[in-house]
Structures are given as structure tokens and as C-alpha cells.
Symmetry: C2
Subunit: 347 residues, 2 copies
């Protein structure tokens, strides 16, 4: 490991000077030619800062702590974490992610991360829920991910559920469907409200109109299948927007039993949580992919902007809001969704 001392010796200057140069703090303080020489020697020797030594003085480590639960059991997590990590890496940060089982070890893990000197925290839930933020996090730079603080004190990154549903439903409308059903979730989830509203809005706006009779909010297993089955027979829908791919599966099953082919006799758009169908059958239903990666990515940007007290735009990372794919394609396609960025109260 090359140290500043070595560079100093090689160049014939003091460590202080090297430090100044390596941190870009020369500028009327170090003669340009000597600065250049330092840089060159550093280059040749392959100098890398030692973040630990630096942190001892500066009290910041460029490490970020990612706290989440359930990571082990949900496939969603990967995308968020990957996105967060990518952005961190680009911004010169290191992300340490820790998943907890319950409140018990949560505080322990947070304490451990604090000991290691992380500069800020993500607090993530897998699938948007109203969430109590741990006390121990409140005095730190903090961003919520896929979670909602009841009092709105902390910035959060959440998928735009309304737009997801609005887009998906519009897709069905433009595909020519006239009786569009919604197979939703009967659990109390934030996503459910937004999606139902988006579905509703899209229908109203198109002039097709909304009817409660076309909505089935279900849970799972047999009862869910029966409810969808009943919807099938009662309303004979020609299009379905499904809360997730488990729900899409019920539609798939009902269609199969009635000899109907998805993509031909009926159209289905499902929000993709598990990417099951893509791996098992020829693509027959259109899937809308949740913007997990983007959420993670933006969470990092927001968090770093708080830590460094800079505006988001200063970070110079591409504001990628990918364009929507054409609506007439019967094949699966990703829809990237806008992110809602709540106000940040921290000073």
C-alpha cells in the first residue's frame, strides 16, 4: 500500500503538500509545476487513499449503511441494492447493507454501522409500507426507500404507483380492450391504493368509465382463484390489470380452464414481482416491471446530496427517465416509472 509519505520522499516535498495536492486543495497554494510532479509520482506509484486513516481525522468514511428487512426472502431487494450500490460506487462511496430480522437486532446492526462510522443511512422496506423510523437513525442523514414515514419528516424514494397503474391500464385501453378488470390486493398496502386510483383515472379519462363490478381485490390461494373465476364468468372482461404476477397467475389459470388464450382472446398486464412467467412460458402477458434499480440509484443520490450538503443536480449523474415502450407490443416490456421524492426536512 503506497502512502503519502512515500510520494513525499520520491518527490522531495512534505506530506502536507502531497495531501494538499491529492485532495485538489492546491490552487494558489502549491506551485503548479510541483503539484504536477506530485500527481505524476502518485500516478506512477499507484497511490490510493487510505479511507480509514483519513476518516480518523475527518470523521467521515464515505461509507453508507443500508438497513432493510426481508432481503433474504424477497427478490425485489436485489434490484434496489444493485441500483444503490452502483450509484454509491460512482460517487466514490461504499455501501454496507445489512438486513435485519426484527427490531431486536435492528438496533444492534445500526449501532455496529455507526461504530464503523458510516456517514448516513438508507432505511428500506420491501414494498411500500408506513414505517416507524428507529430513533437511532434520526440524528443521521437518512433516506427512506420504498417506505413511508407517517409524519413525512424524512425524504423517501417510492415507486409512483398511480402512474404504474395509469400506464398499464392505458396500455390495455389502447390495445382495444373494452371491459378492463383490476385484480388487486385486499391487504392494506400503499401500492394498492395508488394502483386502484391509477386504474380508475385511466378509465375515466378515456371515457370508458369505472365500475366497481370489474374490481376484485384478493389475497391468495384457493379463495383468490375462486374470486377471479367468479369475476371471469360474471363480467367477461377482455382485459386485466393485475396487482402482481401471483394475481396474474390466477387470471392465467382461469383463462386456461376456459380455453381462452392470453394475448389473443384476452389481454393481461401484470406488475412483475418475481419474473416467473418470463422463465416458464412463452411471453403471453405484458409485464410492468417495478423500478427497483432506479429507486436504489436515486436513494443513493439523495442520501449523498444530504451528506455533502449539495443539490441533487450537482451530483452530475444522468437523470435517466427511460421513455415508455410502444403500447401496441403484445410482448413483455419494461415500464420505467417516475419516482416520488418527498420533501426533506433535515437541515
Amino acid at each position: 500500500m503506497v502512502t503519502m509519505k512515500e510520494i513525499a520522499q520520491q518527490t522531495g516535498v512534505s506530506v502536507s503538500t502531497v495531501s494538499l495536492v491529492m485532495n485538489g486543495r492546491d490552487g494558489g497554494r502549491v506551485k503548479p509545476d510541483i503539484a504536477a510532479k506530485v500527481r505524476k509520482v502518485a500516478q506512477i506509484l499507484g497511490y490510493q487513499v487510505n479511507p480509514m486513516a483519513r476518516s480518523l481525522r475527518t470523521n467521515h468514511t464515505r461509507m453508507l449503511g443500508f438497513i432493510s428487512e426481508e432481503v433474504a426472502t424477497t427478490p425485489y431487494a436485489g434490484g434496489i441494492i444493485k441500483g444503490a450500490q452502483d450509484a454509491a460506487s460512482r460517487l466514490g462511496y461504499m455501501m454496507i447493507s445489512v438486513s435485519t430480522d426484527g427490531d431486536a437486532d435492528e438496533d444492534e446492526e445500526i449501532a455496529a454501522l455507526k461504530r464503523y462510522g458510516v456517514d448516513g443511512f438508507y432505511y428500506a422496506k420491501m414494498s411500500n409500507r408506513v414505517t416507524r423510523v428507529p430513533r437511532s437513525l434520526m440524528d443521521m442523514p437518512l433516506v427512506l426507500v420504498d417506505a413511508t414515514d407517517p409524519e413525512g419528516r424524512f425524504p423517501s424514494i417510492e415507486p409512483d404507483e398511480f402512474r404504474i397503474a395509469y400506464d398499464a391500464t392505458t396500455r390495455l385501453i389502447e390495445a382495444g380492450c373494452e371491459r378492463i378488470a383490476y385484480v388487486g390486493c385486499s391487504e392494506n398496502m400503499i401500492a394498492q391504493d395508488g394502483r386502484l386510483a391509477g386504474y380508475h383515472a385511466a378509465l375515466e379519462e378515456s371515457g370508458a368509465g369505472y365500475s366497481e363490478r370489474l374490481v376484485a381485490n384478493v389475497l391468495n390461494n384457493g379463495p383468490a382463484l375462486n374470486a377471479v373465476s367468479e369475476l371471469f364468468d360474471r363480467e367477461q372482461p377482455d382485459g386485466f390489470f393485475c396487482f402482481n404476477d401471483a394475481r396474474a397467475w390466477y387470471v392465467y389459470e382461469c383463462a386456461a380452464r376456459r380455453g381462452l388464450t392470453i394475448g389473443k382472446d384476452i389481454s393481461v398486464v401484470g406488475v412483475d414481482n418475481h419474473r416467473v412467467f418470463a422463465e416458464t412460458l412463452e411471453p403471453q402477458l405484458t409485464t410492468v416491471e417495478l423500478p427497483h434499480y432506479e429507486m436504489g440509484f436515486w436513494a443513493t443520490c439523495k442520501l449523498v446530496s444530504i451528506i455533502e450538503n449539495r443539490s441533487l443536480d450537482d451530483l452530475e449523474l444522468p437523470h435517466t427517465t427511460a421513455p415508455l415502450p410502444p403500447l401496441d407490443a403484445p410482448i413483455p416490456a419494461k415500464i420505467h416509472c417516475a419516482l416520488i421524492e418527498k420533501h426533506s426536512v433535515r437541515s
Copy 2:
């Protein structure tokens, strides 16, 4: 942040003494009563070591670097990472996991982790493959996870594919199946060889005998479905062992089309990769869950044992090899599998 200095002042001793006590290196070196006093003051003040400051002297950080690819896209990763992290946390280590896209950023991420001073690395692939270990990892304590080094130079933790298949097939035999098919994977994967062998062995041992005609190695989508369909009609199997749940899905689909009920007319055991079925339908097929968590857990233990140059048994962690569930249960049940621990060549 409480420092040793403060404890020293409060107690009226020197920092050295405090350091000795806090590291348990008193023992004939510090008078018991003064050691006790130090400990008490530390307790009251809520002292926590500063790992960064410590690492500056000791050159070890108690941080572990977890390198993997594909984490974002596979649900398997979570279990491994959770297991690894749990063990790390119990052993007083912090795990930093980083997932890479390709070789390009892999070396960069490794370099970053080295800068941060990690003590050792995991190198993980999602689903066992023969793997080239990056040069930059070779001079570090290293454990492969779900990956195989062609030259067997590094310790690795892999699922015992043979036993997985052997157990699953035995389960079908004991359930009374007489024509047991294997729906495998036609890609060249290590798991495939082991599973086919385990299936084979279980059949031979039971006296039922093995027939190639009952084996269908498939890829996915339509062709896979057709192949399974053909197997169905040609051999009329009454039991199926499936490489993963995508393959089990083809069997499910074929059964449904023929009016057969799984768990009644035919029996199916599938290796569970996505936990799809549990979320969609009443449990009808038996799933074997891969021991991802355990692999991660043991990987950490192995890695730490290398780093600290201790034997695995010294680590004092429970050697949990959970007992197999009863074989006559028609409901899904986890089968925990033994782990293969390859020899470690590092000195």
C-alpha cells in the same frame, strides 16, 4: 463517541492499561481490581471500540468483502447473503457485499474493498459453476461460494447436489411411486450432473432401476413444455423429480391439461428456486429448498477461520444440520442439505 482516553482519565489509569483490559489482554498483566474498575467505567460510559482507529495499527478491520455477480436478478442471493451476514455479525465482523456486472468493474470493486481494508473475500456465483478466480483475490483469505475452482486451490462451499437429488427421489420412492421421471436441465451445470447422479443412485439402490427413457433434460418455454408433454404420454410417470420450479411448472401444466391432480394422481418434488407456487396455489407439490442460508453461514465461518488462523470448531457456532422432515408428508417441506467443504490450500 467515548474514547479510551476518557475512560483512562475517569479511572485514573493510562490508555495502555485501558487498551489491555478492553482487549482482554489483562491476565497477570493488570491487577484484577483495577481491571474491573476500568471495565465498569467503560460500561457506564458506553464505550465502543473505534474499528477504524484500531485498524490503522493492526492492519485488520474485521470487514469481509462479498463479491458476487447477478445478485440483482436472482432471488437465491438473498439467502446466501443473509446467512453470511448473520454469521459475520455473530463473529463480530461486518460484511460488505458488492455485486458486479462483468469483469470490468469486478476488479475495480475488489480494489475499492481492498482500499477499505477488508480482511478477506467471499467470491460467489449464483448457482454452482466452474469459475476463474480473479488474480486480485488470490493473495487474500478467500472462500468460494456456490462456485467451483477448476484447480481446487481454494476452499468452497457448495450445495450437496447429489444428496439433494438422492433425498428427493427417495422421498418419491417411499411415497410409493413406481415410475419416477427426472425433468432436468440441458444446460451444462454442475448441479445437473450431481442431481442426475443422485436420482440415478436412489433408483438403483431401491431396486427400482434407472431408465434413460424417464429422463427429460430441457431448457425452457415451448420446447421444454413439449418435451415434458411427450414424456408424460410416452412413459406415464407417477412421480417427478424436477430440477427447479420452472421445470416443475411444466409438469404442473401438463398434469392440468390431462386432468391429473398433483399430490393425488401423481407426485412431484421440485427444487425450489423462486418460491412461486407457495404464493399462488395451495401447496400441491413438494419443494426442496436449497440450503442458501446455510451456505452463506458456513462460508463466513470458514473465511473467519482462515483469517484468524483458527480451526472451524474453535468458532463456537452451532453446527446446525437440521434433521430431515418425515418423508410421508405430501406438503412442502424444507430439506437442509449437507455442505461440501473443499480442502483449503492457503497457508
